[in-house]
Symmetry: C2
Subunit: 498 residues, 2 copies
């Protein structure tokens, strides 16, 4: 009979494999699956979810964890094995609260809702999506009800995406950001910046070539990745050697390029996770916030910076000669950093982006706590867009229906985007200390130094520690909005970008 | 507590879902997966296989089957439920013999061997593939050893692909075919037929358009299918509304067109399986032989026939004007039906095809029964190709390495191709009785009548009955090589095709 730790690892490998298989099916559903296949897919994902939930909550896992208590105490808390036991205890205790059937039903309902959402968004018809969304919220209510002594129901949901992080902590961070962002937006909103060259004809084939070029430049090991078109960009994959990123080729802009750099950041994180922990929960990503710190870093701190464009701009001009051929580098950099309140979160600039997130974070809590009804969402959404960003929402497709998250059952997810953005600047400043010539490297088109630093200080930690512990280890500090606000002030405060 | 039948169905739904998920992963591996992803994939498929095997062989299934014995006896044997109990008993008793770990190991080894085979074939290097193939055979030996009183070890392997069919039965059928095929080949081998227009430049984009056109013409429900390029064509999918067929675009021939019609036949079978049995083993395809009767029918009885080309030839000419523009219909039909011994099974004509299969069927038995060693396979292969088809094999890529089956662990599979071909003609003759104007329909480009007949008489039976019972129900007879031989004699005997 294998020892308790070996037995635990074998059982956890099943859980991990099932989750990775689900990721491939999710990718397939959004890129390849014939549309009519969604009915099968919902059942299949629900079955996988049920099996992984059963495997994780098997009483034998609880018994092994009890047996391992003294082993855990004898180990260095930073060791792989101590971290595994600690993390598994946390996962087991949370998952054991939730009946398998509820977990499977949440998955099934979300797969169906996502399909309904695709049609509803295409027709800008919130009402046709409302019942599916109500069902998702209702199932999350039942999920929250599985836990005792819940002071803030939203804590339970948030914790699924940003572990060991409370609503109060996020609120504190966001409260520090909100007035500063609103102030900065009001200063910048009427500034005249010419970015007309960013709209027009951007042939999708040229976009695709350029996106593949930048991914190749940033760098993955050969034969380990692919880039595909999808409606809503995301990163997925089955393991460190199977990375799948997606983007959306809008024929009238080059937004796909920035979204590709964003998804590259996610993909690189997955690519550099600890291979030796691959079959274990500790081998996964730490949290969505940490994930997003990586994607926002590559998209914004690299991808909207002068050093990067000093190197890359001739390639972009070659890809889109009609649009960019006669635009000089300064004008281009100013254009891609234009601050302008707008409707769509994923197309928002660095300054207004935060308010899109804060709006969603607040709305989710309002619904979960019964202050806003799902049927009133479009109205409240539109009012807050007016209040926070001063924009008029013309229809639900460009408003409350724009994101896939709620359809996909990812309620409690949005705040991680802004947490990640804030953390990305803290991490960036630390890298600049450790790699003083980072900007010169980027200017030469060299990204190995950046990749390696991220691999060593963040990616290789996997999920061994909580997000804040991970950030603390990498930067010496837990989350702090000040560096991010200072970065925005420096970059945009003078009214001239970059 | 649900009744025993409901409980059984719930448990079987898990098995079915896991198998369908594996199908999607297999499709992904062969069409989309970044090459380096194969290491993850092997583990993931092995885990799915282990879980489905555990679910099927759970003692509770045995208990439920015992409990259902009297229910089964009280039901009409043709009913869905009686068929389900009967079939599950058979599956359970076979699967229960096999340790879960062996099943998972067979899957893992096959996934690895397939990757090794891809490289070995590209380099025409049998030796680099030999250890992986030996491992596959060795695992099948252990598999056979799980059963008692095995007179013919090959029976156990064959039964996995063609259930309730023995080696002796197949041998009897093949022994009737072999002398006739050899005779026909010797009559036709030196015949001069001009098919030079089938070689040259066939732009892959034009091939792809034409392949999609014929699939659309033959017909699936909208949004339920896709066609992708792959090295080795196959059909897969996740259910009746998620059909995935693949083909290979060789830029110098239009073989992709015939392989697409072939895979369409497989796809249509999956598409018209009984939806109400979808989550149960009875909702699957009957056998590989029956599957192949469908694909060979669409490829050959439709796709190489005069009525089809009377309708379709102008479209092919429009797709390949340089190659076919000045070739008249008679010459084209004669060309695509040319009989000429050649190296590659999937490119073989209708007459020589059978000998490719018989060679493999015999070789598999030789290895399983220790008469031929794996290391001697290339030599024996080449000798038999000389003996049966009179062709010299120039290298292993065009010889023993040409097919994926052995790499993929599908040992015992090949005979089903010829069984299916034989059955396809029996079925075709029955359809011609029931739908007397079938050829006129095809001549008008109408395939609904053919689809419907196949749906009603074969596809809708799913896996409720054995292959021979299914054929008997559809045609009034079990397998009989005479109609097939008569068909070949009529079509080719006069020395002029079609």
């Amino acid at each position: 009979m294998a020892d308790a730790l070996t037995q635990l690892k074998e059982r956890l490998a099943t859980v991990t494999d099932l989750e990775r298989v689900s990721r491939v099916l999710n990718w397939d559903q959004q890129t390849m699956m014939p549309p009519a296949g969604w009915q099968h897919r919902g059942e299949h994902l629900a079955t996988l979810r049920r099996l992984s939930h059963e495997a994780l909550t098997d009483k034998e896992i609880g018994r092994l964890l009890d047996e391992l208590r003294s082993v855990e105490e004898s180990l260095d808390p930073d060791s792989d094995d101590a971290s595994l036991i600690r993390l598994t205890r946390r996962d087991y205790e949370k998952a054991s609260r939730v009946p398998t059937e509820l977990r499977a039903e949440m998955t099934r309902a979300a797969a169906e809702a996502r399909t309904i959402w695709v049609k509803a968004r295409a027709q800008s018809d919130f009402e046709s999506f409302r019942p599916a969304l109500e069902r998702n919220y209702e199932l999350r209510q039942r999920y929250v009800d599985c836990f005792d002594d819940v002071e803030e129901p939203y804590d339970i949901l948030l914790d699924d995406f940003e572990p060991a992080t409370t609503t109060a902590e996020v609120t504190e961070t966001f409260n520090e950001l909100k007035p500063e962002l609103l102030q900065l937006i009001s200063e910048l909103r009427d500034e005249e910046v010419d970015d007309s060259f960013l709209r027009g004809t951007f042939p999708p084939e040229a976009q695709e070539r350029l996106c593949k070029e930048v991914v190749t430049l940033f760098g993955f090991r050969p034969d380990t990745w692919r880039l595909d078109p999808t409606e809503h960009p995301f990163a997925s994959g089955a393991g460190v050697d199977d990375i799948r990123i997606t983007t959306h080729y809008d024929p009238e802009t080059m937004k796909s390029f920035f979204s590709t750099m964003h998804e590259y950041g996610h993909g690189l994180y997955s690519h550099q996770l600890p291979r030796h922990l691959e079959s274990l929960p500790t081998g996964g990503p730490c949290s969505l916030g940490i994930h997003e710190s990586q994607s926002r870093m590559w998209e914004n701190l690299v991808g909207r910076s002068r050093p990067f464009w000093n190197f890359f701009y001739p390639r972009a001009q070659a890809a889109f000669p009609e649009r960019l051929g006669s635009v000089d580098l300064d004008a281009f950099i100013t254009g891609i950093n234009r601050v302008k309140p707008s409707l769509i979160r994923i197309k928002a600039d660095e300054v207004t982006y935060g308010m899109h997130v804060i709006l969603r974070f607040e709305l989710e809590q309002d619904i979960v706590n019964g202050r806003v009804a799902v049927r009133d969402l479009p109205t409240v959404w539109n009012e807050r867009m007016q209040e926070y960003l001063g924009v008029e929402v013309p229809n639900d497709a460009q408003g409350v229906l724009q994101d896939t998250h709620w359809a996909s059952g990812h309620i409690g997810y949005f705040s991680t985007y802004l947490l990640g953005t804030v953390m990305s600047v803290q991490i960036w400043e630390k890298i600049l200390e450790d790699v003083p010539d980072l900007e010169e490297q980027i200017e030469r088109g060299e990204f190995g130094g950046l990749r390696d630093w991220l691999g060593e200080h963040i990616h290789s930690l996997g999920r061994k520690f909580t997000p804040q512990e991970t950030l603390q280890r990498a930067t010496g500090s837990t989350i702090d909005p000040k560096p991010y606000l200072a970065y925005l002030r420096t970059k945009y405060g003078a009214g001239v970008a970059a």
